[in-house]
């Protein structure tokens, strides 16, 4: 299962879907498109180096996604990757 964490006012929502289920992928793409229109920024977090970090090596690798609809629902999915959708931030 792939996951997308959406940071909202209720703590984060975790959306999960089966990348091999076309209906679920279509639903998640629609959700991602809505979030993008709402101004959310998307980040791809690579978990595999996080294991190395736990052992004292490496560092958290994060990539900003410009085209979330395609990247988040990439097929085949890359194991250990998580996506996080963040509300737009502004300076105060």
């Amino acid at each position: 299962m792939d996951t997308l964490e959406v940071l909202s006012g209720h703590g984060h929502l975790t959306l999960t879907w089966n990348p091999e289920d076309a209906v679920e992928v279509a639903n998640i793409r629609a959700e991602v498109a809505k979030l993008k229109v709402a101004g959310y920024q998307f980040f791809l977090v690579d978990d595999s180096p996080a294991d190395e970090v736990v052992a004292g090596h490496g560092s958290l690798i994060v990539k900003r996604i410009e085209d979330p609809t395609e990247t988040v629902t990439e097929v085949p999915p890359i194991r250990g990757r998580r996506s996080v959708a963040v509300r737009p931030l502004q300076g105060g």
């Binding site: 977090v45 004292g56 958290l60 900003r64 963040v86 509300r87 737009p88 931030l89």
Partner: protein
């Protein structure tokens, strides 16, 4: 001088919370501070910051936002390494390095973020940044997650977006 000590003698608890709520809703509300004209501007700002922090703290630690903050803390911990998790547990803050090499200290209970510099024996804060969700509806730990992701992926964009609220 402890700036929170003297004003407590003159301001009732209800007034203190009224001021805090007004400033929390709108930090630039000058009218709210005029009722407390016996305070100097700098003093009033310190007081307001202290009250706003307390309101924020109770909202997310004890109030209805408690579960949201807990969920957000769990997400934050999942993005940290062992050393950072231990630091978070013992000091309620965590040091991270941006992708351009800058060091930052994140405070997930308030959503604050500071640029730090190593001086002799420890990190010292150099700048306090102001960068947040415009509607201010997400828990502070979720703001911290957003700061962490932005710093790790695009530190330059972070510095461009954030305002420097204070320098040391």
């Amino acid at each position: 001088m402890d700036c929170t000590a003297s004003w407590q003698l003159y301001v009732t608890q209800d007034e203190r919370f009224a001021l805090g709520r007004a400033l929390y809703a709108n930090p630039n509300d000058v009218q709210a501070t005029l009722a407390f004209d016996f305070l100097s501007n700098a003093h009033a700002r310190e007081v307001a910051a202290s009250i706003a922090y307390r309101i924020q703290y109770y909202r997310w630690r004890k109030g209805p936002g408690r579960q949201a903050q807990r969920n957000a803390m769990a997400l934050l911990r999942s993005l940290l390494n062992d050393k950072q998790r231990r630091a978070l547990a013992s000091h309620s803050s965590v040091y991270v390095q941006g992708n351009q090499g800058g060091y930052y200290r994140l405070w997930p209970w308030s959503g604050a973020i500071e640029a730090v510099e190593w001086r002799r024996t420890r990190y010292r804060a150099r700048k306090l940044f102001c960068i947040h969700d415009p509607e201010d509806t997400i828990p502070p730990a979720d703001s911290t997650v957003a700061h962490l992701l932005l710093l790790r992926s695009d530190e330059a964009a972070f510095l461009e977006t954030a305002n420097v609220a204070r320098r040391w």
